[in-house]
């Protein structure tokens, strides 16, 4: 309860917690997956585990874009940085993600020109300012971030910029949810749906979860009360034997999504036939690439990339944690070989990564039940 006291409304939190306890059937064990890494982070940071009854288990989903990127793609991005005259730009989260030959930060220390940017527009700016260099943007992210990359590319096209490219690693959340639902032995009773992703995609894309799999979905915001309310929505549906998509985050998420963003994405991207996700393997139509009319700005067209698959170190259990099969502290390397100072897996790097969030907020040196 440590963090919960800091909220403006501890009373509301307590009331929501009571409602959860009332709605959940005591004889039943519930597994509810929060799909989005932002939710995972919020759950640990606010200590929400502590206000839930024991029979409600929150399962962390694959919604952290840094975490699901397989090592081979990190290597491909870093190969771009080795080209003479190239500047590789990426978000801060990527800098400490290990590739086979080291992290971007380590490669930078060895002389590669790798720079952190806060926005894809910063990368574009760098290209305008350095006409003799080639600036590549290492794009990652779900539908929250993909529209920003799309608008940046449209702007590059408008400017006729020749020394700019995007190494596109944008992924889409819905096929990953389907993969999890299809994976054998995976029992999830319902989903807390991603908030900001849904502000772009809307709620419709989750309808199949309710229709085809009979599982409730509640799209949620990121405040503690939002997450608790979404859990109540899921529990109420389960209790009533219903399955539908509900929108707890109506103040930000329009049911139909953001048409401007969706149009920009449609102009720039197309679906890849398949894409490899760390821990989940190859998932068809689960990622975006630039379409042919943007080939000129597509790093995968402009550069020769190794494209080699790399398996994770044996002892690292990132895959199991990403699928929600293991909790972070159940990984053999957790807080030992793998820690925020020396991350072995990406889940320990990004603040949305389950391992980093768990380490930072829930880990007190001893094994904790979660």
């Amino acid at each position: 309860m440590k963090y919960v006291d800091e909220f403006r409304d501890p009373e509301l939190i307590a009331r929501a917690a009571q409602e959860i306890a009332r709605t959940a059937e005591p004889s039943r064990h519930y597994r509810i997956m929060e799909v989005c890494g932002g939710h995972t982070h919020a759950i640990y940071r606010h200590g929400l585990r502590d206000v839930l009854p024991e029979n409600i288990e929150l399962v962390h989903g694959p919604g952290c874009p840094v975490c699901v990127l397989p090592t081979g793609r990190v290597d491909d991005g870093l190969a771009i940085a080795q080209h003479p005259g190239a500047i590789l730009t990426c978000f801060g989260d990527m800098l400490r993600v290990p590739g086979t030959k080291g992290t971007p930060l380590e490669l930078k220390a060895r002389g590669a020109d790798i720079r952190m940017v806060y926005s894809p527009l910063d990368a574009l700016r760098l290209a305008v300012d350095n006409p003799k260099r080639h600036v590549c943007f290492f794009a990652i992210g779900f539908e929250t971030t993909a529209p920003s990359t799309a608008l940046t590319l449209l702007r590059a096209q408008e400017l006729g910029l020749r020394n700019f490219s995007v190494f596109c690693n944008h992924v889409t959340i819905v096929p990953a949810m389907r993969a999890i639902l299809d994976s054998p032995g995976m029992r999830i009773d319902g989903f807390v749906g991603p908030g900001h992703v849904s502000s772009i995609t809307g709620c419709r894309p989750y309808e199949f979860v309710a229709r085809d799999y009979g599982k409730p979905v509640a799209v949620a915001g990121f405040e503690p009360l939002d997450i608790l309310e979404a859990i109540i929505m899921v529990l109420r549906q389960l209790r009533a034997g219903e399955a539908k998509v509900e929108n707890q985050y109506r103040r930000i998420v329009p049911w139909e999504g953001n048409p401007v963003a969706l149009r920009a994405m449609a102009r720039v991207f197309e679906l890849r036939p398949y894409f490899e996700w760390r821990g989940l393997g190859f998932i068809s139509q689960s990622a975006l690439k630039l379409n042919a009319s943007f080939a000129q700005w597509d790093a995968e067209v402009q550069f020769e990339l190794p494209g080699i698959r790399v398996t994770d170190p044996k002892a690292a259990q990132c895959g199991e944690v990403l699928k929600g099969v293991l909790k972070p502290h159940q990984c053999k390397l957790f807080a030992k070989e793998c820690n925020p100072e020396h991350p072995i897996g990406a889940l320990m790097v990004s603040s949305e990564g389950a391992c980093a969030a768990y380490y930072r907020y829930a880990h007190r040196g001893d094994p904790v039940s979660a």
Binding site: G37, F91, Y118, P120, L121, R125, H196, I252, N258, V260
Partner: protein
């Protein structure tokens, strides 16, 4: 990177209708408003900012709550750093 930060629109950048100057806890930066449907943001509006773009408009109360929360959780510095970091928003902007 998945941080979404609330900010208040100060003004639309002259001759760059897709850029708005936004105030985030006292730090002022340009952000791109090209993703907002009726791109008509007005000075005084609150927006949710993600990687240099306004993701959506939000209510004032919600925005203030979120800022308070960022502060309570000690994450406001991170948010400020991100907003301060938007290089594209300097003079002679290509964005």
């Amino acid at each position: 990177m998945c941080l979404a930060i609330p900010g208040q629109v100060v003004n639309i950048v002259p001759e760059q209708p897709l850029l708005a100057k936004v105030d985030v806890g006292g730090v002022r930066r340009n952000v791109n408003v090209g993703l907002l449907e009726d791109a008509a943001v007005q000075p005084g509006d609150w927006v949710l900012i993600h990687v240099g773009f306004a993701l959506s408009k939000i209510g004032e109360e919600e925005a203030r709550d979120q800022l308070r929360m960022l502060r309570a959780m000690g994450e406001d510095e991170l948010a400020m750093e991100e907003v301060r970091g938007y290089r594209f928003s300097e003079e002679g902007d290509p964005g």
